[in-house]
């Protein structure tokens, strides 16, 4: 077999492998995609109407399981506990009403998928910038996720104290 054919064969094999991975993503890749979407949905710009705010809050709640448990414990702030998707939606709506804009990203994400492939834990750094504020918010967060009816949903979200 000549070299050009060998190279062509390697390229075709690599393309097929890439296509297979792209079409059949593993749980970790699915969760990463889901988290990217979550960061996008959690962000919002200024001058949103009430209906847009409501739709945004609803979209955010769609990432959560119905029995989600949220615990936000940040030094210097009052502890916040939310139980259930409705609570999350209300809190998201209240946030959108009180803040002009928010840009959220998850720059560092570590995912551990459990052996059953139906549950996973995602440790991530939340980077958030409130419109008009100089300092950005940085917080380590742990998300427990579960595959429910084919979708990876958050069942538990809690802040983590990096320095204890």
């Amino acid at each position: 077999m000549k070299w050009p054919r060998v190279i062509l064969l390697i390229v075709v094999a690599a393309l097929v492998a890439w296509a297979w991975v792209a079409l059949h993503p593993g749980p970790e890749r699915l969760i990463r995609r889901r988290l990217d979407k979550l960061a996008h949905v959690a962000s919002f710009g200024p001058n949103q109407g009430y209906l847009s705010k409501l739709a945004g809050a609803q979209s955010l709640a769609d990432f959560c399981a119905t029995n989600i448990d949220v615990n936000v414990d940040v030094p210097g702030r009052q502890e916040l506990r939310l139980a259930g998707r409705e609570d999350v939606q209300q809190a998201a709506l209240a946030l959108r009403a009180s803040v002009a804009g928010l840009a959220v990203t998850f720059p560092d994400v570590t995912i551990v998928v459990n052996a059953d492939k139906e549950s996973a834990v995602a440790d991530l750094t939340v980077q958030a910038r409130v419109a008009g504020e100089h300092d950005m918010i940085v917080q380590e967060v742990k998300l427990t996720m579960q595959k429910i009816e084919g979708q990876w949903l958050i069942v538990k979200a809690e802040t983590v104290r990096t320095l204890r």
Partner: protein, 183 residues
Amino acid sequence: MIETKSEPGQQRRSANWLQIVTIGRNPKTTLIRAAVLAVLCVVVFRWMLLPVRIQGISMTPTYADHSFHFVNRLAYLWSQPKRGDVVGIRLTPPQGLPAPHIMYFKRIIGLPGESISFANGRVLVNGQTLDEPYEKGSCDWNTDAVTLGADEYFVVGDNRSMAKEEHVFGRAERSRIVGKALL
């Protein structure tokens, strides 16, 4: 109207000069050099020297807000972090080699096994006052003594004139220390 005609040799010279400036005398060699340089940059700035931009005032006056620095990831390959070192601390648990995008930038004041506390703004290590020449502002912090575990370091920023509640400090596991501040 005055027309100027350039000589063919002159045109060739200017085209040659342009080629030398943009892609060099030998494009193939230039391409190889560029590829080597790109790989070198990725290796150095991803796995050896992490470029960081300071956000916040917790390390002032030593490190000013928005200033650029590097974190040396190789600093603790053959030695352990020492008291007084300024280190980068990752927020997410370490998994593999990838460099974190966001880190805390703090100074080590307590080593594994030691007891650390603040009394009227002074750091006490095992009950003894720690000399801190880098600490410039006035401080009135008071905390209970914390005994560090076998793989824990106590880190804090240099700007102690901040309110204690607004300052992130405390125990960091060794595995979260990414490297030592350079420059």
